[in-house]
Amino acid sequence: MSPATHLDVENIRADFPILTRQVNGRPLTYLDNAATSQKPNQVIQSLVDYYERYNSNVHRGVHTLSIEATEAYEDARGKVKRFINAPSTESIIWTRNTSESLNLVAYTWAEANVSAGDEIVTTAMEHHSDIVPWQQLAMRKSATLKIIPETENGRLDMEQAADLITERTKIVATTHMSNVLGTVVDVKALADAAHAVGAVILVDGAQSVPHMPVDVQALNCDFMAFSAHKMLGPTGIGVLYGRPEILEAMPPWMFGGDMILEVSYEDASWNDLPYRFEAGTPNIADAIATGVAVDYLEALGMENVWEHEQKITEYALRRFAELETINLLGPHEIEDKGAVLSFSHDSVHSHDLGTALDQLGIAIRTGHHCAMPLIRSHDIVSAARASFYIYNTEAEVDVLIDGLKETERYFSKAGIA
């Protein structure tokens, strides 16, 4: 196999220390990237560098370390702004992760704008973190939660979407790419439909921003949430993009240092964006490292990242077709499908598959993928998932396929496959 791709995968792999690890006597085959990605040296070193050289609090001091830390922290925000083509740095809010970003919108914008009888529209392929906040909001407000269904071939049913988004709809919350099916959703079409009825659209970009070029202005979305740890960055930090004029009108959520303008014993006024939504000492080191992760991805080029993943997914789809007892979930065609392959076995539970593959050094995800309603709608209780990133190769797909065949032989001999 000689993949004609614009990524130099061999060089990329050399940047990721963990990829030299052995697991159970085999080279690690890391195929759990939709859960979290591995980190390149550049990102790891930026954390060490921060703590060794200029660790300090931001926005507070006049001393050199504080000035350097503040600059690096705000510089990272600027990098994220460019990365998703946000209109301004004020529209980039640091959070802990995608879940916190989604909850921030549910507890601020939605709390102020959704009332009894209103409708919230989401999709059948959301992660729990883009379902449960809306269920809870609907209960608090006596609003109605409506679900855009999945078509038989694993796509979002856009015809039904057009019927479900009505004059009563206040917010449409959708994933950009399903963490289970890999389906890429036509966010622009949903944004147009939402805006046509005066609703806002919030996009869960946890699986899209790390893997494809994302332009929040071209998509015309009002909110976009994502996590750094799925895009080469550290855990514990995420982003909420919000359209500036919407953020400006939103009430604050958490109160504390950095988010205030003036405080008396009786009252307080709020700082400007984005600080109004960043109470307390922020996650400075991880924000800076996120900026370094963005630099790394931009140097590769997100078009190239997407192209590489499309190629590897196309190859994996072809190889999976050889496995008679394995059933793929979601689209079987590469169009509008990201590098996520979820599957179930005719008779072997995903945890038994996962334990066997781990013996061969292969890391995949097993279980309900934080998407219980979606998994159950496929009449299964759990699934296995392989997901790829910039450092994965077609040879690793072969390792997975061989591993699945060996696993099949093992459980067949054991009488349960």
């Binding site: 539970h349 945890h351 759990s382």
Partner: protein, 152 residues
Amino acid sequence: MQQGLGDLDELYQEVLLDHYRNPRNTERLDDPTSEVDAINPFCGDEIHMQIGLYGDTVASISVTGQGCSISQAAGSLLTEIVDGRTTTEARELRELFREMMTGEEVSDEVADRLEDSLALQGVRRFPVRIKCALLSWSALIDALDKVAPTKP
């Protein structure tokens, strides 16, 4: 050193596979004294347990569910040793089972009492799967507590 899947034999012992292929005591009880649904929230494994008490004795027990081989076989194996025991003995068995799974040395006497469930000892080498083996035993305690709560 490259390993194949041979190490899995310690996990997937024949007794366990047999109970997974042909689970025992799956018939639903007509008039259970107590019943519970136990779910492992991290993986979605499910156990539905019913017990019928006659006085202080577990006179009938039924386990069904869906999930991995370990969770389902452990449930089936449990029914075989708990059936016919007093509630006190059933609780003791759970303690012995839990001690075995969390690494206590298993004496000959304990081995005798755990009977075929001893085969689950191999799960210890796969720590992430221990919770699978314990699920039905927590369901049992919940079912017993519904009748007469464990004293604090």
